[in-house]
């Protein structure tokens, strides 16, 4: 099935943000990381397990009447680093954005080491993870220095 057809599973949006090419099964995590939950009032469309030529299967999210900021999108770098993001205005793509993995990931996910000082969620300083290598991806906690289990990390969204 072509990408065009898969995009038609939900109607085109007038204004808002489309996040395409989310790795299959991660759309709910993406919503979680963007803070989109049952209290969100704008329409949100979610399509999961759509066939994709490039990825085999993928997820897609459309958020109406809200333009996600670069900072919000960068939070997705751990789960959807290659997602395509489009800002839609009047049914047309007004802007294409990419997701960037910075040198530090602040207050997005919690260190995976159970004995890290940050495991006490009442401690008020920000959760800080440092990107020490990009290829292969290696991330360490700023505080305890432990290398992070990347599979486990995406389950530690704050």
């Amino acid at each position: 099935m072509s990408n065009e057809h898969s995009m038609r599973r939900v109607t085109a949006i007038r204004n808002g943000t489309v996040i395409d090419h989310i790795p299959q099964g991660h759309a709910l995590t993406v919503l979680d990381m963007l803070g989109i939950d049952d209290k969100t009032s704008v329409p949100v469309s979610l399509v999961m397990n759509v066939p994709s030529k490039k990825m085999g299967s993928k997820d897609i999210i459309k958020v109406e009447d809200r333009e996600l900021t670069q900072a919000e999108l960068d939070r997705l770098a751990l789960v959807a680093p290659d997602a395509h993001v489009a800002i839609i205005r009047a049914y047309t793509v007004a802007e294409k954005m990419t997701i960037n993995l910075g040198d530090e990931i602040v207050d997005v996910v919690q260190c995976t080491y159970s004995n890290c000082i940050t495991s006490n969620l009442r401690e008020p300083l920000p959760h800080r993870l440092k990107v020490v290598s990009r290829d292969p991806l290696e991330i360490r906690c700023h505080y305890c220095g432990r290398p992070q289990d990347l599979d486990e990390l995406v389950n530690n969204v704050l």
Partner: protein, 337 residues
């Protein structure tokens, strides 16, 4: 006071405004090799002060906050002795069970309080990363006295001092680190420092207590030559230093796992017949049964001198972090007690 997370960045920024650039000692990465050697030279000159032969109140009017959130004998007492030998004073957190910590106070709040009372803080905490967390929360320098299974750099400084005292150098030595290399924070910090001075490292431990893979790969990335083995005794004959550690029962959640490795090594004087004459045996103490008392009387035993060196190494560190220069001629600068 519990700080609203949304405001904490501003608050931390505020408390740091007006302060000098504070750098504590959280890991050995906070010191260059040159700084390490400079501090060891300062420590050497401060020996008569540490022994109480000379009075030199370099830190008069300064206050050290001792925050030990888990048990400590040598580290806490040697910090206190170091500060007092230099004319400074010490305030203690005291027993954690009777402090605000038991009421649920965060580390951030505790540090805000003690930061206001003191000029420098020495801290031990059961959670890894606590020292860095404290440094990020404080205006005054933090000296990491052990954070979970993480780092123990002030122990490393006294270890390096002891090694340099015995061998006259740090470069190119062959060092065996034995026992609990998994949870032993002293060996984590020490192996990093020894690598920087080009030492060859032999890690001898039961399989269950091997040096964590990420530390081994870090050390190798910094050019370390490492041998990993379970056989301690055959590795000792070429060694310049054998550094024993206790298998730490308190780090095991499973009693059966502990039982599998308890008593893995029991170094006896009989094991020392073929070692180098100048080889020294070190141990951060307390020991259980990994070094038999028969070793104490041999020329190789250095662990009690090592424990004393904790005072002089920490004196030099306190001076360094408080920006106080140790006089070149300590005898001339000091007075009789």
């Amino acid at each position: 006071m519990f700080v609203d997370k949304d405001n904490v960045h501003e608050i931390v920024a505020l408390v740091k405004v007006g302060g000098t650039t504070v750098s504590g000692l959280i890991t050995m990465d906070d010191l260059t090799n040159e700084e390490i050697l400079e501090i060891l030279d300062d420590a050497e000159r401060l020996l008569p002060v540490a022994k109480g032969e000379l009075y030199l109140p370099l830190l008069q009017g300064r206050i050290l906050g001792n925050l030990f959130f888990e048990p400590s004998t040598r580290t806490r007492m040697s910090f206190e002795t170091a500060m007092k030998r230099l004319g400074g004073d010490v305030v203690n957190l005291g027993d954690v069970k009777t402090s605000s910590v038991v009421k649920g106070e965060t580390l951030f709040d505790t540090i805000q309080m003690v930061d206001g009372y003191t000029d420098i803080i020495a801290m031990r905490h059961p959670r890894q990363g606590a020292a860095q967390y404290a440094q990020d929360s404080a205006r005054v320098p933090i000296l990491n006295g052990g954070d979970g299974a993480g780092h123990h750099p002030t122990q490393t400084m006294l270890d390096l001092f002891t090694i340099k005292q015995a061998h006259g150098k740090l470069e190119g030595l062959k060092v065996v680190l034995a026992g609990d290399l998994r949870y032993g924070r002293t060996v984590h910090s020490l192996s990093h420092a020894l690598t920087r001075f080009g030492c060859e490292l032999i890690f001898a431990s039961p399989e269950l207590l091997r040096m964590p893979a990420e530390i081994v790969s870090d050390l190798q990335a910094h050019g370390a030559t490492i041998t990993e083995t379970e056989d301690l005794y055959s590795m000792m004959n070429d060694a310049d230093v054998v550094y024993m550690t206790r298998i730490q029962k308190e780090r095991f959640s499973d009693e059966d796992e502990y039982a599998k490795v308890a008593g893995a090594y029991k170094l006896h004087a009989n094991h020392l017949s073929d070692v180098k004459a100048g080889m020294i045996i070190m141990h951060p103490l307390p020991r259980v049964d990994e070094i038999h008392p028969s070793v104490d009387a041999t020329r190789h035993a250095r662990y009690f001198e090592q424990a004393f060196n904790g005072v002089v190494a920490r004196m030099a560190l306190l001076c360094k972090l408080l920006g106080v220069k140790v006089p070149t001629d300590v005898k001339k600068a000091g007075g009789a007690l």
